[in-house]
Amino acid sequence: MAAIAQHRVTHSTAFRVRKLRNQILFWFVISLFIIFACFPVYWMFVTTFKEVNDLYNLQNNPLLFHLPPTFEQVQYLFERTNFATWVENTAEVGGAVVLITVLICVPAAYALARVRFPGSGSLGIGIFLTYLVPPTLLFLPLSQLVAGFGLNNSKWSLALVYPTFTIPFCTWLLMGFFKNVPREITEAARVDGCSRLGAMFRVVLPLSVPGILTICIFAFTLAMQEYVYALTFVSSSDEKMITLGVVTDLIRGDVFFWGSLMAGALIVSIPVAIVYNLFMDTFVRGITGGALK
């Protein structure tokens, strides 16, 4: 009897040890992944708030602060660069992209999701496939097209071009939202004498406000972080949007203003990272055309 009890105790101790060992291993591996993912952000943070004398002193441990943190680099970004203009441009162009995207996507997605007409399936797939056409295939001809519109080196060229990727993405995302509104509701509205257009505006759209807001957020953030078209079409500093401004204007000749550059990087990253973290599943659903439920 005592022997059995003894045996049980050792058994449960061995079990606990094994469990603990698994736990430690688990957190060790997870930590490696977290360090890999987050170290660059930590590094941006450290670089942003370091004194220049500390940052470029090779004798110091670069991971830590040796002089008290400073706002000098952030200040430089705000006062000695066009940062405020870039923020303004981002708001204006981003706003225009959102507007164009909503005006074009809402009706298109509604038709593809809720209206039966010949060819709707193929048109939907056609729109989705344009998402596969990358900027790097179109930037040369588009640069000529943009010049033809007299928008060369103007931020508005970006408002014209960015819907090429926001439209396919947002249309497919919205189709998902529209499909979730029960058909019976529109049918009831139709029986009550509502026209098709009326049913769309008075019944389905009000129920899809969350979906429409979601695509607004995506259209804005996709526009805000775009780089290739921005680099191709815009060269004057005061026409740049925030991402391009930060990664190009803080390099003067061979001199990189790393502190201010990372300050800008951090300011751009934080809002986008928060939004995308909140909407990660929706975003992935948008990218994969609803393959992921």
Partner: protein
């Protein structure tokens, strides 16, 4: 019924209702609503694509966009260009290597994230960060981390005793290639992990338990049970991830500009260098067009998958 007709005719007195009435045919209504999207795509994707095709057989430059027909001159010149050939090879090397690493690490990460543990949401949020910050910003942060003089990675490596000096990451051929692959993996790993997590958690628990009872080990469970079930999702995610990495120029352009001596260019970055920086639209467009066959295959595979899904 009569009442309904009457209501509609009353509606005619105001213009909004009149438009609604005219659009009431289901076909017409559908076409009118899709038209803006289709017109936009034709004008800003279809038409430019046609111009790109014209560029490839002409000697257009940014200074002289009205050009003459030059036949296959561009294609032959591009094909003879050693840097371009290298870029072509690099595009495949970078894409395939980073994709393979992403899938392997992503699978491991997915299984870790499927466990229930304290702080799971926080951990997940932290792990998503690379995918959520703009790619240009991420590339810049890595460029700084791999700086020839102030590289923090080299500092850690030296102090951990891994090497005595550390490579000039972005200035030497192989370290630069490794850096580019590394940044691609860093950036896209969260995407792979999310897709795989969603896929695996959609596998019915009973099936796994049944396989377990039948004595299947984890490899057999993975290969014969999980993969076949999540294949459709995996397929789409893989396709998009491949296409985006394949056509991206941001990482290369910001980190190395294709240097040292053109050894790290990819098709897209070299096309930018040639077409925009050097202004040779014809040559640049010809290079970009090399992306197209891969995109076409991608599109066809996607199409097949979409059709299969609508039939289900």
């Amino acid at each position: 019924m009569a009442e309904l007709a009457q209501r509609r005719s009353v509606g005619l007195s105001n213009p909004g209702a009149w438009i609604g009435h005219v659009l009431d045919g289901e076909k017409l209504f559908g076409y009118v609503l899709v038209a803006p999207a289709i017109i936009y795509i034709i004008l800003l994707v279809g038409y430019p694509f046609a111009i790109a095709l014209w560029f490839t057989v002409s000697n257009a430059t940014t200074a002289k966009p009205i050009a003459e027909f030059t036949g296959l001159t561009n294609l032959l010149a591009v094909w003879d260009d050693d840097i371009f050939r290298r870029a072509l090879a690099n595009t495949f090397i970078f894409t395939l290597t980073s994709q393979a690493l992403q899938m392997i690490l992503g699978t491991g990460l997915a299984f870790l994230l499927l466990k229930q543990f304290r702080g799971r949401r926080l951990v997940r949020g932290l792990l998503m960060i690379p995918f959520t910050i703009p790619i240009a910003i991420g590339a810049m942060a890595w460029t700084w981390m791999l700086n020839p003089t102030y590289s923090v990675i080299n500092w850690i490596g030296v102090h951990a005793g891994l090497f005595t000096q550390g490579p000039n990451w972005l200035g030497e051929e192989y370290p630069a290639m490794i850096s580019i692959i590394l940044v691609n993996v860093w950036r896209n790993l969260p995407f792979s992990a999310v897709v795989l997590t969603a896929g695996i958690s959609a596998v019915p628990q009973e099936i796994l338990e049944a396989a377990n009872l039948d004595g299947a080990n984890w490899w057999v469970r993975w290969r014969k049970v999980i993969v076949p079930i999540i294949a459709p999702i995996l397929y789409i995610a893989l396709l998009f991830s491949l296409v985006f990495t394949f056509t991206d120029m941001t990482v290369v352009w910001l980190m190395t500009r294709g240097n040292p001596v053109g050894e790290t260019h990819v098709i897209a970055s070299y096309a930018f260098q040639t077409g925009i920086v050097a202004g040779s639209l014809g040559r640049g467009a010809t290079m970009s067009l090399f992306l197209f066959p891969v995109l076409l295959v991608g599109a066809l595979l996607l199409l097949r998958n979409l059709k299969a899904r609508t039939i289900d």
